[in-house]
């Protein structure tokens, strides 16, 4: 309706035929589609040399107001870039505030954006903003996702986007909760697998280097073992499992090396030392050592911990 009204007005002003006008419009749109980076006035002059500049400006203005184009400034000249259709959709039946909020949320990508940040960027009142967000949500343009970083923090993103792993936490989160037990079980199973590999070493007769090489397992092998076990409800990727294997490295139970073809190899190792003598004594693990003195409540002669340990 609007478009028709617009054209009819313009028709009156320029006294030009309707059909060529619309053809030019289609032409410009096609041109913009062919150049996703955007078109400038110069391009239009080159492509359509017989189009008067006044008319060209009118058509451009019309397309801009309809939301077909975004306007950019680059190196002093203006650049028109075609908007993608999803945005064109919101343009219909939405007011300016909604458009602004939508574009802010769109900018945030799949990481999402917090309501406070939207408020700062858009300079809208909180009540008004929440109204807009609600209406956008109902229209299914955007959605709210709970972030794992802070349980009460909601972030908004476009409806059709898959949330980033930093928001959902990846495979290790279920409903914003870190599944510590799941991780622990996987950690143990991976270690069991590598331990078994290590046991094979004793039956290897090809010299010490051969024996050591037997103990290596690539992350893929471990991944296959875990997948076959079927302990995981979610599908784990090799990268996910490498994360688990790395925790074993930090536990000091496993060693990591790079193989020649770039894949990462893991093997179970023995620690260099037995547990040191210091912590075999009660004083080594004493929780009240700071208060321990010759006089006072905590003294070596009447220490409860030592007494219990001696019993």
């Amino acid at each position: 309706m609007e478009i028709e009204a617009g054209t009819s007005k313009e028709q009156d002003a320029t006294n030009a035929d309707t059909n060529p006008f619309e053809i030019i419009e289609q032409k410009i749109l096609a041109l913009a589609q062919a150049r996703p980076k955007g078109i400038s006035d110069k391009d239009l002059i080159i492509e359509m040399p017989d189009l008067p500049s006044v008319q060209r400006a009118q058509i451009i203005n019309k397309l801009l107001s309809q939301g077909h184009f975004d306007l950019f400034k680059q190196g002093g000249s203006l650049l028109y870039r075609l908007r993608d259709p999803s945005k064109a959709k919101i343009a219909k039946g939405a007011d300016n505030e909604e458009k602004i909020v939508y574009s802010i949320i769109e900018e945030a990508g799949n990481k999402g954006i917090w309501i406070r940040d939207i408020r700062f960027k858009s300079n809208l009142m909180p009540t008004q903003l929440s109204k807009i967000l609600k209406s956008l949500e109902i229209k299914k343009f955007i959605k709210a996702v709970k972030s794992v970083a802070a349980s009460k923090k909601k972030v908004y993103m476009l409806y059709n986007l898959e949330p980033d792993t930093s928001v959902t936490g990846g495979a290790w989160y279920q409903d914003q909760d870190f599944e510590a037990e799941f991780v622990d079980v996987l950690n143990q199973q991976c270690y069991r697998f590598l331990e078994k590999k290590r046991e094979q070493m004793n039956s290897c007769r090809g010299g010490p280097i051969m024996a050591r090489n037997v103990t290596f397992a690539s992350s893929k092998e471990v991944w296959k073992f875990i997948s076959d076990l079927g302990i995981s409800k979610v599908k784990l990727s090799v990268e996910d499992l490498e994360m688990i294997l790395n925790t074993l490295v930090y536990d000091g139970k496993v060693e990591r090396t790079l193989s020649g073809d770039g894949s990462i190899l893991y093997r179970a190792i023995e620690p260099l030392l037995d547990s040191p003598g210091l912590i075999k004594s009660t004083c080594g693990v004493c929780p009240v050592r700071k208060h321990c003195c010759d006089i006072g409540d905590v003294t070596p002669t009447k220490c409860q911990y030592i007494t219990e340990w001696l019993e």
């Binding site: 536990d251 037995d274 004594s281 002669t301 030592i306």
Partner: protein, 500 residues
């Protein structure tokens, strides 16, 4: 030197030398180097007692004296006092290396500080004679054993002289005097006029050498644990070869050519090692512990033992173990993670360690509070002090943590010693009674007492007393063992500090 270290040294000296020596040493601790007159004044002891105490301390190498403008000044070497804790270990080491007689000789030298060869042989002879094992001592065997100890550099000539100015900075001297064996035998039989031919040639224990041997044991056993028996033996051979070409406490050994390693390994009785020597070398070299480095290719390959790196790795392993035992395996994971990443943020810690945020924070801050990890604040330059613009990075300062743990060891040792003393004192009556009974029984046995008489004496102690006594003895034994174990840790950490 810390308060804890002072207390520990003080109680060690009290246990072994008594109160007066402790008193004098304590004064030297407090005030550093000072003269006899000042010590006498501060301790309020008679001058002869102070002199005696200083004499004992000097004899055992705990006190150093130097000439200043007015008379002499005495200063304490506390590291040597702490060595007393390790005496049993040295004796055990000598026992396994050189046999029982050598151990006795060493014990005698340790007890006397410094001593002449003839005297130590005489004393050991008498001791073996009196021991209940019933072995017959012989002077030539003892002399041989003594020479063995000197040859292995476990004993060295004491350069202490009677005159103050006579101290020279000579290299350790291991030349043996000509001992007159017949004279020694005569002396044992009671003839005091015979001259064994070594008067004024004193011997003392070469602690430096013993410390190096204990150090090597740690390295060898670490490799054995990491790889296997054969690799451990190879490491031992490498350390022998290191002695031949490198100064005692060098950080890395001079390059050892493969041919020599081959020669050395051939003499061992490890067929697998001889067969797979190249592979084992490769394994030790490739291991993440970095004890061995390949430094060149000439002569089939040149290898260098890296002591400094080795003890860094061992110190890390020790600390990781301590953190694990004190705060649990999750904390140890964080500790290793911080070590691995050098500088790391809290966010990353919980992500990489895969520990729930709350627990990860708790553990990280516990470690921070206990000083196992350190925090570094990073501010973005040119921005006002808004909290968001500041990063908090966690890292580990190994030296700080090691010093802290050394202190911890001192504290634990002191506590255990105190407890032991307390247990002994509170059961003194009973322990004394048992001693009396023992001497009584042996005396009666010698005089041919009847079974009945012996049983009568045994009945002097009631069953409950016997039970109690057994308990106390077990307690004391357990505390003694713990002391040695703690000292193991202390030794390793001090070795680290020595290299870094």
């Amino acid at each position: 030197m810390s308060v804890m270290c002072r207390k520990l040294c003080s109680s060690i000296l009290f246990e072994h030398f008594g109160q007066i020596v402790q008193c004098v040493a304590e004064d030297l601790f407090k005030h550093g180097a000072r003269s006899l007159e000042l010590i006498r004044y501060a301790t309020d002891l008679p001058v002869t007692k102070v002199k005696e105490a200083l004499c004992v301390l000097i004899k055992h190498g705990f006190v150093r004296y130097s000439r200043v403008e007015r008379g002499l000044e005495f200063s304490l070497i506390y590291e040597n006092v702490l060595l007393i804790l390790r005496y049993p270990k040295y004796m055990f080491f000598i026992k396994t290396m050189c046999g029982d007689e050598s151990e006795m000789i060493l014990e005698e030298v340790l007890m006397n500080g410094y001593i002449t060869a003839s005297e130590v042989i005489t004393k050991t002879y008498k001791k073996i004679e009196q021991s209940p094992s019933g072995r017959q001592p012989s002077v030539p065997v003892l002399k041989e054993k003594f020479e063995l100890l000197v040859k292995n550099q476990f004993l060295t000539r004491s350069l202490c002289t009677d005159t103050v100015g006579g101290r020279t900075n000579e290299k350790p001297d291991f030349t043996l005097p000509n001992l007159n064996l017949t004279a020694i035998i005569k002396k044992i039989e009671g003839d005091n006029n015979s001259d064994p031919g070594d008067s004024k040639i004193y011997w003392k224990v070469n602690f430096d050498r013993l410390i190096q041997d204990l150090r090597d044991q740690i390295i060898v056993s670490a490799i054995r644990r990491r790889l296997d028996e054969n690799a451990g033996e190879l490491m031992r051979q490498l350390l022998f070869l290191m002695y031949l070409r490198t100064a005692s406490w060098a950080h890395t050994s001079n390059p050892i050519p493969l041919t020599e390693i081959k020669e050395a390994v051939k003499k061992t009785s490890y067929p697998l090692l001889i067969h797979h020597l190249d592979q084992y070398l490769h394994l030790i070299e490739e291991d993440s512990s970095q004890f061995l480095k390949r430094v060149g290719d000439s002569g089939g390959g040149q290898f260098s033992v890296n002591m400094k790196e080795a003890f860094e790795q061992l110190a890390w392993a020790t600390l990781e173990n301590i953190v694990m035992e004190r705060f649990g395996s999750k904390a140890a994971r964080i500790f290793r993670l911080v070590r691995d990443k050098k500088y790391i943020e809290q966010e990353q810690i919980q992500q990489l360690a895969m520990i729930p945020a709350k627990e990860a924070k708790h553990l990280t801050y516990t470690l921070l509070q206990e000083n196992y990890i350190q925090m570094q604040e990073m501010k973005k330059s040119g921005v006002s002090a808004a909290p968001i613009k500041t990063f908090f990075l966690f890292h580990i300062d190994l030296n700080v943590v090691v010093y802290m743990e050394v202190e911890h060891c001192y504290h634990a040792l002191y506590n255990i010693m105190q407890r032991r003393e307390y247990e002994v004192n509170s059961n003194k009556r009973m322990i004394d009674k048992q001693l009396r009974m023992q001497t009584l029984t042996t005396n009666l046995k010698e005089h041919g007492a009847t079974e009945e008489q012996l049983a009568e004496i045994a009945d002097l102690m009631t069953p409950s007393e016997k039970q109690q006594l057994e308990k106390v003895q077990n307690t004391i034994k357990k505390l003694g063992i713990t002391e040695l174990q703690i000292d193991d840790t202390l030794f390793l950490l001090t070795m680290y500090l020595r290299y870094h």
